[in-house]
Structure formats: structure tokens, C-alpha cells
């Protein structure tokens, strides 16, 4: 029987390593998420998404023939994507800054660095549930809002409709 709240949740694991898939499935099961399907790469995941609704995706970054970045861009931007808003947690041992930024710019919801722990995985799921992010559609990007913090000293370009509504008059 599924845990309270997660009864009807459908999760998809996209990971080329069978041991990591098994571990992720076991961790999701322990949280009460029982309806879990696995894919070995991004291409297989797309085929699964076309046939089965998924409410949560855990995806590895480095996979062949389609990696996690290309898969995420498909989910967010392709006209055939069944759910462009689905939360995607990118899981990777590649934690160099440029790789994390690439994942962010592809449209992932959360980034989880390996080694995997139950605490860290559940923390990312908690973040998605507690603080769902607004989505942004602009030239060249569709996905969760990449501005996670409001900085008073932000010096970049102001492009949003509501940037001027919030402007302070001094």
C-alpha cells in the first residue's frame, strides 16, 4: 500500500546504471511511491512518457544515446511533450559548475549530486512539494524560474513584465 499522499503518484526513473535504478526505486518505495517505471536512457524515457502519465521524473545526466539534458529539453519544449511542467530531478556525479548550469538551463527542477542519500533525495522532493517554482517562458528558455533568490544588488537586465511594477521609487 502506498504511503499517505503518494497513493496515485507515478514516478519515472531515467538512469543507465541498473544498480542506481534499483536503489532509486527502493528509496522511492520506502517513501510510499510505489508506481515507478524505469528507462535506461532519455530516448526510452520519451517513449514511456508518451504512453504513461508521469508526475515526477528522476533523471541521470550522462547517458547514451540521449542524455539527461537533451531529455529535459524535449520534455520542456517539444510540442509532443505530454507534460512540459513535470518536475525533473537531475541526478549526477558531474558536479562541475558548468554542468550544473547546463542542467539548470535545460529546465531541470532540482539537481541532486551523487553520492545519493535518502535524506538528499527526500529533501529535493520536499522542496518541489513545499515550494513549487513558477515557470518562465522567454526567448530561448522554458522551464522553472532560474532566479531562486531575489538579490537586492542584481545588476543584470530587467526583462520581465512585472519587474517595473515592483520597481521602488526613491
Amino acid at each position: 500500500m502506498s504511503g499517505p499522499g503518494f497513493e496515485n503518484l507515478k514516478a519515472l526513473i531515467v538512469e543507465d546504471n541498473a544498480h542506481m535504478r534499483a536503489l532509486l526505486r527502493a528509496l522511492l518505495n520506502s517513501a510510499g511511491i510505489k508506481d515507478v517505471v524505469e528507462a535506461g536512457n532519455g530516448q526510452m524515457a520519451i517513449e514511456i512518457l508518451r504512453e504513461r502519465k508521469s508526475d515526477l521524473v528522476l533523471s541521470d545526466l550522462a547517458m547514451k544515446p540521449m542524455d539527461g539534458l537533451e531529455f529535459t529539453r524535449y520534455v520542456r519544449n517539444n510540442d509532443q511533450s505530454p507534460n512540459p511542467f513535470v518536475p525533473i530531478i537531475m541526478i549526477s556525479g558531474h558536479t562541475e559548475k558548468h554542468r550544473v548550469q547546463a542542467a539548470r538551463d535545460a529546465g531541470v527542477t532540482e539537481f541532486l549530486a551523487k553520492p545519493i542519500t535518502a535524506h538528499n533525495l527526500f529533501a529535493r522532493i520536499t522542496e518541489i512539494l513545499e515550494r513549487p517554482r513558477a515557470f518562465v517562458r522567454c526567448n530561448g528558455y522554458f522551464g522553472p524560474d532560474r532566479r531562486r533568490h531575489q538579490r537586492d544588488d542584481y545588476a543584470g537586465p530587467w526583462r520581465r513584465k512585472d519587474d517595473f511594477q515592483d520597481a521602488e521609487i526613491r
Partner: protein, 164 residues
């Protein structure tokens, strides 16, 4: 005076969380959060991790064998080193994972800089990873020392390369 802002470029559409389908409805999300934070969930998760460990450790040893056989094939070596890096620490093989992490950083940074890899440094890491993975007690002091010394060596070499 308004904040010093550049003129707005193209309009950006913001879609608020309430305007698109969420992973769970709010009542279900509240129950799910409670479940995620419950001690019994943490205990089940810990048991799941422990149950997965033997198979994961065996897989790491298989990757190590593949890495040792990949001498000279840098693409294969990087691929297996990456698997070990991401996988070993999850399997509790901390020193093995740390040395693999240093090797991956070295190979990744030099490749991005368009520089040639020092095969001696790569071989040192491969050897150290194999010794750490095959040691009965992965957290022995020697392994930690080797990991720290290799990290220092790679940091110095990368610094030298970047200064040239």
C-alpha cells in the same frame, strides 16, 4: 528615482505554480510531506540503502577491473572513472569515490583546457582506486592519505597548467 535598470528586452511570461498542474494536490502534498519526514520512512530508506550495498560494491569492483583494462583508452577510462565517482560513495566506498572524483576533475579540466593528459598522473589514480576498492577496510588511514596526496598533486598540476 527608479532603480538603474536597462530597458526591458523581450517580454517574459511567468506562469505561477497555481496556474499549472502540480505533482500533488495541496491536501495530498501536506500528507506526503508528513510521510517524507516520518522517522519510519527514514528507517525504511536506510534499510533499502543497506540492502542495496552488496550488489553495488560488487559492481564497483567490476568497474575497477574495466578501468584497469582500459589503460590507454582515455574515453573508456573517463567513463568508468565517472561511474565509480558517482557510485562508490553511495555504496559506502568513500576513499575509492574520492580518488575517482579527483581523477575525473583532472581529466575533465584538462580536456576543457585543450591540454594533454599526463599519463603518469592518470596511472597513479587508477592504481590508487584499485587498491582502495580492493582493500577490506576502505577507510583505512593509508587510503585517506593517498587520496589527499593525489588531490594535492592534481591541484598543483592544474594550477601550473592554468598559469602557463
Amino acid at each position: 528615482m527608479t532603480k538603474p535598470r536597462k530597458s526591458p528586452a523581450k517580454a517574459v511570461e511567468i506562469i505561477a505554480p497555481d496556474s499549472y498542474p502540480q505533482m500533488l494536490s495541496k491536501p495530498r502534498a501536506a500528507r506526503a510531506l508528513h510521510s517524507l519526514r516520518a522517522p519510519e520512512t527514514a528507517a525504511k530508506a536506510q534499510a533499502a540503502m543497506e540492502a542495496a550495498m552488496p550488489a553495488m560494491r560488487a559492481a564497483i569492483l567490476q568497474y575497477v577491473d574495466e578501468m584497469e583494462r582500459a589503460a590507454g583508452d582515455m574515453a573508456k577510462l573517463f567513463e568508468t572513472a565517472h561511474e565509480i565517482r558517482g557510485f562508490a560513495e553511495t555504496a559506502g566506498m568513500i576513499t575509492t569515490g574520492r580518488i575517482a572524483e579527483v581523477l575525473c576533475r583532472y581529466m575533465d579540466d584538462l580536456t576543457r583546457l585543450g591540454r594533454k593528459l599526463d599519463t603518469t598522473i592518470v596511472a597513479l589514480h587508477v592504481s590508487a582506486i584499485a587498491r582502495a576498492a580492493k582493500a577490506e577496510d576502505d577507510s583505512v588511514r593509508n587510503g585517506e592519505t593517498v587520496a589527499a596526496e593525489l588531490a594535492a598533486l592534481v591541484a598543483k598540476r592544474l594550477s601550473d597548467v592554468e598559469q602557463k
